[in-house]
């Protein structure tokens, strides 16, 4: 059997049948073999039933997104084959969790289909029938000739808290591996090649949510409050669990308004604070975002976009909240909107957001989406130790005597760069009033015209220094491309795979990791000497990013590739479009 450097694997079952853990463990085993991995989930907004899938792409190079065409598909219920027909071809192997399979029912299916009763394998080992999802792993390990030892360790670690379950699952894994080996020997099933193993496993495998959490923790985040809402809930769960290991308080608030206001209170009292939600919950926070703006309270907010409007498609991706995030909050105030792409960038920006918020005393929004926040992606292991310093805080945030005389301190003291040193409760001779009203330098409310203009100008003055610290647009690909694809946020994960194709010599990609304040100069500079057709690839129906670019730069001539059906872009679709001009009908070209 030949060695393979990549695979596309998918498991499809009803909600509650263990698809997510199966896919996560398979992804982890691939990572342990030293490969890059992307693991994408699709699931409906319900707890039992419905179609749920987890799909893993692993490769020696790339694997930054999912791919459509599958090497192995495992369906727990035969009828689900119909949901995946477009993902199968003559090279695909399909495993149906059943005793037998009648191919005549699926005339259009060109793949090899084999019935293997995974549930029976689990039952025969005395395990819970739900361990069919582990049997699927044993089968997969054999189909791709993976290291069973590695897969076994991954399974045992997953069930570390329950020794009995770990033992039984290990038996199931081995039994499925051996049975598949038998089937291959009998010629009833054809393996899909030997998955390469590099022997070097220096990466982490985690979701965008977890990466933001890690980044924020490393930056000394000490307070997170939220109300559960998909797809931001993963961050709440991750940080809540870390309360055992780090000095952080996580508060499940009574609603999103409370969540953001808890965070504002904690931040005022001096701890680094954050909240998060999806569009609907963020809508409830908006008045308070404006408060953070006028009162100069450091705050980080994750806006985890899902397909709206309103309740929309709760578990499906979108970038359609861009304009809302840019404009959220009444009145004029400065904000930062970070739009990380890869999981690694989510880690870096989790940290950056916490630091920028404190340094410039303003709200920093991280806009991401269901696609990358809930997908697992590999990233290089970071430096594990991080030293934190405090920014623009009286006595670096230490409580007690401040060394100041009575009446000397002014919370909103005028300053050239707009940033005033912030005192916190518990510091001597540094009383202040953090005020939602427009205010004077102490913090007392004012309606004076001159004072008001000064205060507005002071806050706006932060822009100059702030801009220098923001992530700049990134350019990948050909120097003199025929086409340039422009994107923000998670879409870069897909565009990177487009760049892996042979046509990459004629295309380039621009990723915007920060859309506000917009990097006008840098963006224009990237396009200055280019004579290429410009396509903005974005996950909304109206071209919100394109509109922003047209508003903030000289660049007006843009074409749009839009997707707004809750599904992510596929590199195959974009490649096809670039090569043939044919665009997947679920997309829209403007």
């Amino acid at each position: 059997m030949s060695e393979i450097e990549e695979l596309n694997w998918k498991i499809s079952a009803k909600a509650g049948e263990g698809v997510m853990s199966s896919a996560k463990l398979f992804a982890k085993a691939c990572k342990r073999q030293g490969l890059a991995v992307f693991n994408y989930y699709e699931y409906p907004s319900l707890i039992k039933g419905g179609l749920q899938s987890g799909q893993v792409r692993a490769a020696l190079l790339g694997a930054t997104c999912q791919r459509r065409h599958l090497d192995l598909l495992i369906v727990f219920h035969e009828k689900f084959i119909n949901d995946h027909l477009s993902e199968l071809n003559e090279n695909s192997l399909v495993i149906v969790n059943a005793n037998n399979f009648d191919p005549s029912k699926y005339p259009e299916l060109k793949s090899q289909v084999v019935a293997v009763n995974l549930t029976k394998i689990a039952r025969d080992q005395g395990a819970n029938p739900l361990a069919a999802n582990i049997a699927a792993l044993g089968l997969s390990a054999r189909v791709f000739a993976m290291d069973l030892q590695i897969m076994g360790r991954v399974v045992v670690e997953e069930f570390a808290k329950n020794k009995e379950a770990a033992t039984k699952n290990l038996l199931v894994l081995k039994a499925a591996f051996e049975l598949t080996d038998e089937l291959i020997k009998q010629g009833k099933l054809t393996g899909q090649g030997n998955l390469i193993s590099t022997g070097v496993d220096e990466q982490l495998l985690l979701t965008g949510n977890e990466a933001i959490g890690l980044g924020a923790l490393s930056a000394g985040l000490q307070f997170y409050s939220a109300y559960p809402m998909t797809p931001a809930t993963g961050l709440l769960h991750f940080l809540a669990a870390e309360q055992n290991n780090y000095p952080i308080v996580v508060k499940h608030a009574e609603d999103e308004i409370a969540a953001i206001n808890h965070a504002l209170g904690a931040s005022f009292a001096g701890v680094r604070a954050m909240t998060g939600s999806s569009g609907g919950g963020f809508a409830l926070m908006v008045e308070s975002l404006s408060f953070a703006g006028v009162a100069e309270i450091p705050l980080v907010v994750l806006e985890a976009v899902r397909q709206g409007p309103a309740t929309g498609l709760p578990t499906w991706t979108s970038q359609g909240d861009l304009n809302f995030i840019l404009g959220a909050g009444h009145g004029d105030f400065l904000r930062v909107v970070l739009t990380p792409g890869s999981v690694e960038e989510h880690f870096v920006f989790g940290k950056l957001a916490v630091e920028l918020a404190e340094k410039y005393q303003l709200p920093v929004l991280i806009m991401s989406d269901k696609y990358i926040l809930e997908s697992h992606q590999t990233m290089p292991k970071m430096i594990l130790t991080n030293n934190n310093q405090r920014f623009a805080m009286l006595n670096d945030g230490r409580l007690g005597e401040s060394g100041l005389g009575d009446g000397e301190y002014l919370r909103y003291k005028a300053s050239e760069d707009g940033v005033s040193v912030r005192s916190i409760p518990g510091q001597g001779n540094a009383l202040q009033l953090t005020n939602s009203y427009e205010h004077d330098q102490y913090g007392f409310a004012t309606e004076d015209a001159v004072e008001t203009k000064k205060a507005v100008d002071k806050r706006a003055a932060k822009l100059l220094a702030l801009q220098k610290e923001l992530p700049k647009p990134l350019y990948f690909g050909a120097t003199n491309p025929e086409q340039i694809l422009i994107s923000f946020g998670s879409t870069i994960n897909v565009l990177r795979e487009v760049l892996l194709s042979p046509i990459s010599s004629q295309i380039a990609v621009i990723h915007l990791p920060c859309v506000y304040p917009f990097p006008t100069q840098e963006f224009e500079a990237l396009l200055a000497d280019k004579i290429a057709e410009l396509f903005v690839v974005e996950g909304d129906a109206t071209g919100q990013l394109a509109g922003l670019i047209q508003r903030e730069t000289k660049i007006k001539d843009l074409r749009l590739i839009l997707r707004y059906d809750g599904r992510p872009f596929y590199s195959e679709d974009l490649l096809e479009f670039l090569q043939s001009g044919q665009l997947n009908q679920q997309y829209k070209l403007l």
């Binding site: 000095p247 209170g265 604070a273 009033l433 939602s436």
Partner: protein, 286 residues
């Protein structure tokens, strides 16, 4: 570190309340209570709501947080969790705390967060020129309810008591000494304390003036046992009866922060992580 004195608490900003407003005496009582508790200036944070009562923010020198309408208690919860060594006091009106922010008040009660909440209850939205509030009597005629208020007044204190608030009292702006004692007891109480202060609004509430209050308020009897939750709820069933004093006090329940593991030895702000080692956090991603 500065002691709290009346001189230190004095703000350079003159109150903008109407002559005869109950807010003057409530502010006097609060300042007196803070002085008598022998606290330091930097040991107290006051969160202010929006309304005539919230404007107190400008009339007292302290670590202050002038919040959005209705949201102050949510801020106070965050402040207390970040630095539980601070005495956290919330000042707001009946509209702010019992109307716009009621969900936050219920949550603060349920968590028994150690916050002392003073509700300046004048039964009106006075800063917006006198509309009815959640505590206005049924039938009240005001600019937003010219045909008379249809709703019943809210049973805010019953809500607090039945949802876990550890200390619930009622005061009256015309009885200064009692107010001072109740505020002191509320601040010393480790848990959520709600002090509903009945106050006249001479501009927009002509029905409930000082003379009306003199006839309608009365102290709880000497036999009243504030540890009896059922009795407290019965006492509050008659919404026309404005009994003054500690209606309910639960000394068995811990405050929220006392049940948070990471806050058992130090406050959160005292644990700022100068160095973070991510080894534990990445263990599941390896």
């Amino acid at each position: 570190m500065n002691e709290i004195t009346l001189a230190n608490l004095l703000s350079p900003v003159q109150p903008t309340w109407c002559p005869g407003c109950g807010n003057f005496s409530i502010l006097t009582a609060l300042k007196q209570a803070l002085v008598e508790l022998n606290l330091k200036m930097d040991e107290v944070v006051i969160v202010f709501g929006i309304g005539c009562s919230g404007n107190t923010a400008d009339f007292i020198k302290c670590y202050g947080f002038h919040a959005l309408h209705g949201r102050g208690l949510a801020n106070a919860v965050g402040i207390k969790l970040a630095n539980h060594r601070q005495k956290v006091i919330m000042i707001g009106g009946d509209g702010d705390l019992y109307g716009e922010g009621l969900n936050h008040m219920v949550a603060a009660c349920r968590g028994n967060h150690d916050i002392t909440t003073l509700v300046f209850n004048n039964h009106r939205y006075s800063l917006t020129t006198g509309q009815t509030s959640p505590t206005s009597a049924k039938g009240t005629v005001a600019k937003s309810t010219p045909q008379g208020l249809i709703e019943d007044p809210i049973g805010a204190l019953s809500i607090a008591i039945s949802n876990g608030a550890g200390f619930v009292a009622r005061a009256y702006a015309g009885k200064l000494k009692q107010m001072v004692e109740l505020i002191k007891a509320g601040i010393l109480y480790e848990g959520f304390s709600l002090i509903d202060v009945q106050q006249p609004c001479p501009t927009f509430n002509k029905e409930q003036d000082y003379a009306w209050y003199q006839q309608n308020v009365m102290d709880l009897s000497a036999e009243y046992d504030p540890s009896n939750q059922g009795q407290a709820l019965v006492e509050l069933l008659d919404k026309d009866k404005l009994s003054l004093g500690v209606l309910y006090r639960n000394d068995q329940r811990l405050a929220y922060h006392q049940e948070v593991d990471v806050l058992k030895e130090k406050s959160l702000i005292e644990q700022f992580p100068q160095t973070v080692d991510l080894s534990k956090a990445i263990a599941e991603f390896v």
